[in-house]
Symmetry: C2
Subunit: 175 residues, 2 copies
Amino acid sequence: MTVKHRRAASATTTAGFPRRGHNHASCVDDAVAAADRVCAQNGTRLTELRRQVLELVWRSHEPVGAYAILEHLAVDSGRRPAPPTVYRALDFLLEQGLVHRIESRNAFFGCTRPGEKHLFEILLCTDCGRAAEVPGDRVTRAVKFSAAALGFEVDRQTVEVMGRCRDCRGPAAQA
Amino acid sequence: MTVKHRRAASATTTAGFPRRGHNHASCVDDAVAAADRVCAQNGTRLTELRRQVLELVWRSHEPVGAYAILEHLAVDSGRRPAPPTVYRALDFLLEQGLVHRIESRNAFFGCTRPGEKHLFEILLCTDCGRAAEVPGDRVTRAVKFSAAALGFEVDRQTVEVMGRCRDCRGPAAQA
DNA sequence: GTTAGCGTGTTATATTGTAACATAGCGTCA
DNA sequence: TGACGCTATGTTACAATATAACACGCTAAC
């Protein structure tokens, strides 16, 4: 809650796929800390349930479905909430900009730049299943450009890129 | 089936949103003609059912859901096929590159460049509900660029842009 | 005319998402 | 303090989207 959180450098703020064997616990911790901060700024409440759901989204770097979260909640806490409970928590987290929705998978994953208004693209590795968020400035400009040519006013955009991450491509791509 | 179809200029090959009051029947006709050609080239069969589904996808320039297609089939032809029937036809049309899927809507709409291997973006007008396909070369380059920086190998991409089309923005945007 | 392969039909069910209403917690202010 | 209002969560029921698995029939090739 103190000011030192404002620029806490960490794995979660790193664009791209994290290295194998990275300290994932700190990804989660950072995400929760950032969420606390963002909610405080926005005057909203990161309740216990919402925090739990956020942690479950951050359980790995693979996008996670709403019903998978529901399962994990059941396992972790013994109670099994009904779907609306999970969807409402996810809606909240989406509104606060703490998670993103991946349309092509009907799944969610943790935002790596919480609290910053930002446009982004999602890279999805079809081998390992992980997702990574990368800044979308360049793509956004390209989108705006072609839209403008048609008199189309851009409100928001979804860019999801399927392919293989460096780790899955093997040593050849590690350069 | 004759060679004159190969370059039939038409509304369907126009990128962007068609003008209000355009001759939509020719959009549909062109789409079916192109489908015949593509299937002939690919050695696949545009069966009656598949043609019907394609026509229903082309019923308007708004993306259409699988169950809406199912409804229309029921109305148009008296019989009500089960969901797998429609999904199989849609899968076929997707494979042949005759329709696109809009992930953020769970809906489908007709490809305006059938038979050409192409990368594209989808513009979705949140006012009138219409979709338009536009060439995605610029966006594709931007996507490749940021992916390459992370050693990510792009296979395919989904770019969906929400906003307002020129018609819906009114005269100010008609310039 | 038999047969292999493809396309479609059919049944059942899985997966994802929401509407609508009930209950509970919690701060505020008369 | 206790009634009120607001937000969050619980609960029930259902809607919307999608697929698995197996049956049947057509047709093209031999």
